[in-house]
């Protein structure tokens, strides 16, 4: 291919080091570090004292302190907020998959003229600002005694993510040839057997990535949490918000609580990113 190259490229392992390759590598690292920089800076700030945090120029080398983290834990019980985050995101993911999977199955393998319209209608409900529904939902929760309640949050998160889940699962299921399902039906499999032994193994990737995305979205949801909960059902989003009120005076404490709030989901995201993206592009990659 590159017979016209004048300089002989250096080969180390599987990479061929020529000018283009070096430029490409350097540029890639540059972009990635730039994107990650704000998070890195926040982690750094969380280990500074409040005075060091607002030093100009910013300090890069300093003696790290853990006092912000201990103070956050003393002032507010981190683990009870974290537990609420786990319960609401996992709960809404499971409930969402239970409702979305049959719907997506029905749409993908028994499409009617209305299927596309139903799907688009579902997605359009997701485009409306949540704030439009806030007062009605608030009043309903008040009537039902569900304010500041974890169960109410699970239901709301589920409904919030349902359109995306149905759509993702639908596009995933559509890639599965329906002949396989028909064959199992011919062999007398019940609907449950067909789902459990034929569809599930084939759709595992799609289900996993749908669940992962739902988990991330629920973990990061702030609007309903801030408006419907206080001490009992508050998630990490409300913990962060409670540190933001004294207008940015305490950067390192704010950083520490932010790092604590995002660390679980970011690390989780690092491990599952391939799975997450693969499910989203299932139909796109052919």
């Amino acid at each position: 291919m590159s017979t016209t190259t004048v300089k002989k490229p250096v080969r180390t392992g599987k990479y061929t080091w020529n000018g283009a390759m070096i430029t490409r590598t350097v540029a890639s690292y540059g972009v990635a570090l730039l994107m990650f920089f704000p998070i890195f800076f926040m982690i750094l700030t969380s280990f500074k004292t409040e005075l060091q945090a607002i030093a100009v120029p910013s300090l890069w080398i300093f003696e790290p302190t853990l006092e912000n983290y201990t103070e956050v834990q003393e002032r507010s019980d981190y683990f009870s907020f974290a537990w609420n985050s786990v319960v609401t995101s996992v709960g809404s993911t499971i409930l969402g998959l239970m409702i979305a999977t049959p719907a997506a199955y029905s749409m993908a393998f028994n499409p009617t003229k209305q299927t596309k319209n139903i799907l688009m209608w579902m997605l359009s409900t997701k485009m409306m600002p949540a704030v439009g529904a806030l007062i009605p939902i608030y009043l309903l929760c008040q009537k039902l005694g569900l304010l500041d309640n974890v169960f109410a949050l699970i239901i709301i998160f589920t409904l919030m993510n349902l359109p995306i889940m149905v759509w993702m699962l639908y596009t995933n299921f559509k890639e599965i040839p329906s002949e396989i399902l028909e064959a199992s039906r011919m062999d007398g499999a019940t609907l449950w057997e067909e789902f459990r032994y034929v569809l599930l193994p084939l759709a595992m990737g799609g289900l996993a990535s749908t669940g992962l995305l739902c988990l991330v979205l629920s973990w990061n949801e702030a609007f309903w949490v801030l408006n419907l909960t206080s001490a009992n059902a508050g998630t990490l989003a409300s913990l962060v918000a409670s540190y933001s009120s004294p207008e940015g005076l305490f950067w390192s404490k704010l950083s520490a609580v932010s790092v604590l709030a995002i660390a679980p989901i970011v690390i989780f995201g690092w491990f599952s990113q391939k799975q997450l993206v693969q499910g989203l592009t299932f139909g796109a990659v052919k």
């Binding site: 599987k14 490409r24 590598t25 890639s28 690292y29 972009v31 990635a32 994107m35 990650f36 704000p38 998070i39 800076f41 700030t45 100009v56 979305a100 049959p102 719907a103 749409m107 028994n110 596309k116 139903i118 997605l123 359009s124 485009m127 409306m128 600002p129 949540a130 704030v131 439009g132 529904a133 806030l134 007062i135 009605p136 589920t158 409904l159 349902l162 995306i164 596009t171 991330v216 702030a222 609007f223 990490l236 989003a237 962060v240 918000a241 933001s244 940015g248 932010s258 995002i262 989901i265 970011v266 989780f268 995201g269 690092w270 990113q273 993206v277 989203l280 139909g283 796109a284 990659v285």
Partner: protein
Amino acid sequence: MQSSSAGNRFVPRLLLSPAVATLLLWMLVPLGMTLYFSAIRYNLMSPELTGFVGWANYEFFVTNPAFTDAVLNTLVLLGSTVFITVAFGLAIAMLINDPFPGQSFVRILLISPFFVMPTVNALLWKHMMMNPIYGVLAQVWTFFGLEPVNWLQDLPLFSVILMLSWQWMPFACLIFITSLQSMDREQLEASDLDGATYLQKFRYLYLPHMARAITVVIMIEVIFLLSVFAEIFTTTNGGPGTQSTNLAYLIYNEALVNFDVGSASAGAMFAIILANIVAFFLIRIVGKNLD
């Protein structure tokens, strides 16, 4: 035969019904209440005033000078962020597509902002990046001998767009990378032999291949960016003036700052109409790529 075909239709409908029913409830109950509130006098500050007012709330909301600004800001916010994330996402995906040492490490760094919760994103940028005195950007500007920018005061809408792009660009980028990995190698090699330029390859090979991935990204981003709230609420509070107020924030402002539920409900009805208009065009434009 008759019964079996009826059964064929019944079971799929039964499976579909929980999702449709719950979403219908989720939509119709608030919608019904919102419709009702939008036609009555309902101000939390003056509960003694009640009664049917017809279209007065709608008139009040639309004649509010902030309304036009809010609609425009909503669309600018949506359009710019989608454009920036897709354009830069494509460029970066093309950049890091071919293997180089540490490629998966670079991927991990790149995707990280997508997992950061919007409240943290907003606070992080507002204070540590964009603060006009202590912020990192101010230091960079000073380093180059420039006057530091007061981002949230002077460029409020742009600042919000920047935060949103930081969050969503990684998402776009990773979808594009995954899509690029399934490019037909032989086709690319053949085009190399025919002496195709990089731009020609991009235009005639890469872009058509990624059409669906781009559609997926636009679709998901529109869904989330039409009703941006946390980023605005945490940073600019819609200001200065109405410069960074979008429709969602304006409704919030009416309901929970001015306590005028009637007018906020009328605003919510406009937001629903806007969402449906956007959904309509979205389906026309990108729907064919979604099959």
